[in-house]
Every structure is written in structure tokens, then in C-alpha cells.
Amino acid sequence: MSKLTRKEEQKILASPPKGTFALLLIFAVLFLTCWLLLYFGRYMVLGPVS
């Protein structure tokens, strides 16, 4: 059972989703780092082709 009061619950529900945003931010940083590593560290290092 939740020990939060009705007022506290309302406050949480009305506040922005900071935790979700933090998770998305971590995902964005990891995704971009991995992409750059693959592109410059694995693909371009083999020599450019056209």
C-alpha cells in the first residue's frame, strides 16, 4: 500500500518525468558514442570507398 498522501501523489503525477528523461539521455549518449565508434573506428578506418 502506498504511504503517500493524496496531495503528494498529485504532486508527483503533475511533475515532469525526470527519471524517464535521464534514461533517455543515457540511451542517447550511448547510442551516439557507439555509432561514432562504428563509423569512424570500424568503417572509415578500413579506407574510404566510392
Binding site: 515532469p16 547510442f31 572509415m44 579506407g47 570507398v49
Partner: protein, 173 residues
């Protein structure tokens, strides 16, 4: 329409991610000419051996006056002609490959040379081979040259698995 501040921020982050990735691709396309081939060259596959460029004695490696290397190859069931190919690393190399029969592929591990060879078309790949990368995939000889396998990576028939050859990569002079 009301957009929550966090949603606006996330949209901005997505925009930055797309800009960084697109910027990297555009930068390498202009600075290193890393992009898909732009020309489409056709050839009559049934008369390939009669053409000037793909006649058997004209196949192989040619060094051009500007220092670049031209490699003319024929991919056929089940092999590549000519058999002996020596390419210098660190110099611009142009592969021109055609086939007289069915669809083939050309893949050299340790490089980004990887193309389909479609009947009726000449596959052109411009590349610069990185010796330090190729040496990880090939067999290093005493004189510093590296023998790398070349594979057909498009299923071309019952003996597709035996369609491979070798290319010798010479160290940067």
C-alpha cells in the same frame, strides 16, 4: 498545441543526434569521397571476352600515370580472372569488375571493397587500402606483403563456396 518542456528537450536531443550522424556522413563524403558509386556503366555480358577492356590479356593490374592503380577483373563461375593480383596499400585503387554469366560478389576482408557484380553492368569501386587493417586478415610474408583472400559473397551456383582467390597487398612505399 501544448508541448511539454521535457518533450521539447528530447526533440532537441534527437535533432542533435541526427545532425551529428548526418554531418559525419556528409563530412566523409566530401573530405574522403566515401559515397556510393554514381555512374552506371553497361556492358554486353555475352560478348565480354570480345571487348577491349575485358579481353583476357588486358585483365589485371595497371599503374596509371597519376599513380593510381587500375584492377580489371572478370568474376565468373567459379573464380576470378586473373588469378594473380598485386595491389599497393595506401594508393588509390580502382576496381572494374564484370561477369559473363550470373550475379557474383567481390569482397576483400580488411577493406571496404564489397560490391555486387551484376551481369550487363561494370562494377566500379574506388578505394584506398589500409595496410594496418589488411594485415589483421591476411597472411604476412617476410617481404611485408600480405596475402588476403577474395570472396564471392553472392550465391552464384552449386560451387559458389569454392569461388575465391587471393590478392597480394604490398606495403606502403
Amino acid at each position: 498545441m501544448q508541448v511539454a518542456p521535457f518533450e521539447k528537450r528530447w526533440t532537441g536531443i534527437i535533432g542533435i543526434m541526427v545532425a551529428v550522424m548526418l554531418g559525419s556522413i556528409l563530412y566523409t563524403a566530401f573530405a574522403y569521397h566515401a559515397h556510393p558509386p554514381g555512374d552506371v556503366e553497361t556492358v554486353d555480358s555475352t560478348r565480354l571476352h570480345l571487348t577491349e577492356e575485358f579481353r583476357e590479356d588486358n585483365l589485371g593490374v595497371t599503374t596509371r600515370p597519376d599513380g593510381s592503380v587500375l584492377v580489371t577483373l572478370v568474376a565468373h563461375r567459379y573464380g576470378f580472372t586473373p588469378k594473380h593480383i598485386e595491389i599497393p596499400a595506401g594508393k588509390p585503387v580502382i576496381f572494374r569488375v564484370a561477369t559473363p554469366d550470373v550475379l557474383h560478389g567481390l569482397h576483400i576482408p580488411g577493406t571496404n571493397i564489397n560490391t555486387m557484380v551484376v551481369p550487363g553492368y561494370i562494377s566500379v569501386v574506388n578505394a584506398v587500402i589500409n595496410y594496418d587493417e589488411v594485415v589483421k586478415y591476411g597472411e604476412l610474408a617476410d617481404n611485408g606483403s600480405v596475402t588476403v583472400p577474395v570472396f564471392c559473397n553472392e550465391f552464384c551456383g552449386l560451387n559458389h563456396h569454392s569461388m575465391w582467390t587471393e590478392v597480394i597487398i604490398l606495403p606502403d612505399s
